[in-house]
């Protein structure tokens, strides 16, 4: 059972202040965290490996790949420290590579690895709120997809996923190989193992050799590395006005409250 996990990083929103009045973003503390949904995906992969280990210890393998262009391999080292068996750091992606580009690059990487049984990644990104990488990659690989998983079980030829619908939680399944995206907050991610962590970051021992570096140019032709999307600007929400009083009768005030709540809560 080979499980590929795709992880990315994001700027910690706690270190950012948005000034709506002047329309500027201030980064007070530049600290990066792993995408929370991707951490849940890694946890799902490691749980599959844990359960597979009972039956056949050599059979389960977790390989970490990057979600997007990264300036250094720290994300992958974190994955190795947490329990991934191998990781591949991709160099040479254009800085603006978007999900369309990464889907091709990652599909080529999976093929270059010799295929996989299951690809796991986060269902959504903390910053941009985009869910497209998983499905794009599934299309590029030509595999089935199950999105927004709350729990993942994979064995033999099938993957079984707990999903949420309007009435509660249901189980979907599909034949492997498949792509599954994991909901943030669905699983409590484990902590890295201390010995693995020290060795990965010191670059000693077997674990350090498990981090490989590949050139994107070897995987995908340059014409496919051009991003499809480009940034055109930013917009800011209106200034927060505290103390706005609803006016009128009780019914009118309740209507104003219902409108405000409905917009924010109904999903």
């Amino acid at each position: 059972m080979r499980v590929v996990v795709i992880l990315g990083r994001v700027l910690d929103p706690g270190g950012i202040t948005v000034n709506r009045r002047v329309g500027r973003i201030f980064i007070n503390r530049e600290k990066y965290i792993l995408q929370p949904a991707d951490r849940c995906a890694l946890e799902a992969a490691l749980r599959i490996k844990d359960s597979a280990d009972c039956s056949n210890p050599t059979d389960a393998e977790v390989i970490a790949l990057p979600r997007g262009p990264l300036p250094d391999d720290d994300v992958l080292r974190q994955a190795l420290a947490t329990g991934a068996d191998r990781a591949v750091y991709l160099v040479g992606s254009p800085a603006q590579a978007d999900d369309a580009v990464m889907a091709r690059v990652l599909a080529a990487t999976v093929e270059q690895l010799g295929g996989a049984d299951l690809v796991l990644t986060g269902a959504t990104t903390l910053d941009t709120g985009q869910s497209q990488l998983g499905p794009r990659l599934a299309e590029a690989l030509g595999w089935p997809q199950i999105v927004d998983a709350w729990a993942v079980r994979a064995a033999g030829e099938r993957v079984e996923v707990v999903c949420q619908n309007k009435t509660g939680y249901v189980i979907h399944d599909a034949d492997l190989p498949a792509v599954v995206t994991v909901t943030p907050g669905s699983l409590k991610p484990r902590y890295p193992d201390g010995v693995r962590l020290v060795n990965v970051y010191k670059g000693v021992g077997e674990i350090a050799a498990a981090l490989e570096q590949w050139e994107v140019a070897d995987l995908v032709d340059a014409e496919f590395l051009k991003p499809l999307l480009e940034q055109r600007g930013r917009d800011f929400p209106p200034m927060r006005e505290r103390g706005a009083r609803a006016s009128g009768t009780v019914d009118e005030m309740a209507q104003a409250a219902a409108d405000a709540l409905y917009r924010r809560v109904s999903r």
Partner: protein
């Protein structure tokens, strides 16, 4: 001079900070209220290797060195001093004494399970008559064939009430005193003759267990003598030297948290129409706290580097301890003042930090002893020998 932390230490700190915030912070107030040791947290820490952070990997440790250990204590001290004391006692004195002076067999048998967190360690020295004057202990060890018989009572012992492996100091030759008369023994808690006595009712660090330990005709095999017979005093001096560095790292963490809380409150709390952050008296308190914290941090990690590179560090470690414990108390006191009445209520963490911090000027060598160590090192360089 490269003052940056190496990548494994940066990664280690990040991991421990998350662990402390998720696993320890929610329990800190509860531990204090219920006066209980967080066994579940210790188990979780053992699982990821934190209870052996500084020991070499060949002995089941993590191999992150003294720097890694200071990082651990700093991050724990930020969140829960009680847990930091449990861990610091286990690693810094309980296991370290075996690492420093144990033979290979003892390291394999005792250090490895301690480093893996499979067993918990303690260091047993203090008696009612022997606090700062550690050499005045009266617990007696008498040779009987291939065993030693230990008799005596130890007071104010941390971890000893639940530890599995304890290293205790006993007098083997009453005529020789510190020079040749004291021996270190590795004890296992299930040895007949070992009893846990009364638990102390403390002012702070209520999540750590402090108790009397009683040895009554306790038989300890000769192979459990740590180091050489009669050289126990040297063992414990070396161990306490190392322990005081990491304890000051815990104090650093406590001071940092006090500063963070004070800043957050100063941003929020408005009086006389303006946030406290705009009041000079508060600004100066914050500046003073921050300056002392930076100074302590630089000192601690420089000494950690000296330990990791095999340089002498005893005098500087004493400076870390006395300075760290005192600035932490000062910082927490200022943070309490900034919070006003809120800081005085038990539903808010500052008063616990205030009570927890006080002990660090006393245990692991009082501030007076630290000052003596510092002064005695300085005067010795000038040819003058002074006594405590």
């Amino acid at each position: 001079m490269d003052f940056t932390f190496s990548p494994e230490h940066v990664a280690l700190r990040r991991m421990i900070r998350e662990f402390a915030e998720n696993e320890m912070a929610p329990l800190a107030m509860e531990l204090d209220r219920e006066k209980r040791v967080p066994f579940e947290t210790l188990k979780k820490m053992a699982k990821i290797g934190l209870l052996g952070v500084c020991f070499p990997q060949e002995y089941g440790g993590m191999g992150a060195g003294e720097t890694g250990y200071c990082i651990l204590m700093e991050e724990l001290g930020r969140v829960c001093t009680s847990t930091a004391v449990n861990v610091g006692t286990h690693i810094g004195i309980g296991a370290t004494v075996i690492y420093l002076d144990g033979n290979e067999a003892q390291r394999k048998k005792y250090l490895t399970p301690l480093a893996r967190g499979e067993k918990i360690g303690a260091f047993v020295l203090t008696e009612s008559d022997a606090g700062s004057d550690a050499a005045a202990i009266r617990t007696r060890a008498v040779r009987d064939g291939d065993h030693w018989i230990l008799n005596g009572t130890k007071t104010f012992n941390t971890n000893g009430s639940y530890a599995d492996i304890l290293t205790a100091m006993a007098v083997t030759d009453p005529t020789l005193g510190a020079r040749g008369g004291i021996t270190a023994f590795i004890i296992e808690s299930d040895m007949p003759g070992f009893t846990v006595g009364t638990h102390e009712n403390k002012m702070g660090i209520l999540g750590s267990a402090t108790a009397e330990l009683v040895f009554e005709d306790m038989r300890v095999p000769h192979e459990n003598v740590l180091g050489k017979v009669g050289e126990g005093f040297i063992s414990f001096m070396k161990t306490l030297d190392m322990g005081r560095l990491t304890l000051s790292a815990a104090a650093l963490g406590g001071a940092e948290m006090a500063l963070e809380m004070a800043v957050r409150w100063a941003k929020t709390r408005k009086q006389f129409g303006v946030e406290l952050a705009h009041k000079q008296s508060v600004q100066w308190m914050i500046a003073d706290m921050a300056t002392e914290i930076e100074a302590l941090r630089s000192l601690i990690y420089r000494v950690a580097w000296m330990v990791d590179t095999g340089q002498p560090f005893s005098q500087l470690a004493a400076m870390c301890k006395v300075y760290g414990s005192e600035i932490a108390s000062r910082a927490i006191d200022m943070a309490l003042q900034i919070h006003g009445g809120l800081g005085f209520t038990r539903d808010f963490p500052i008063e616990r930090a205030f009570r927890d911090a006080r002990i660090s000027e006393i245990f692991e060598g009082t501030s007076e002893i630290q000052r003596f160590v510092i002064a005695s090192n300085i005067f010795r360089e000038h040819g003058v020998r002074i006594r405590p």
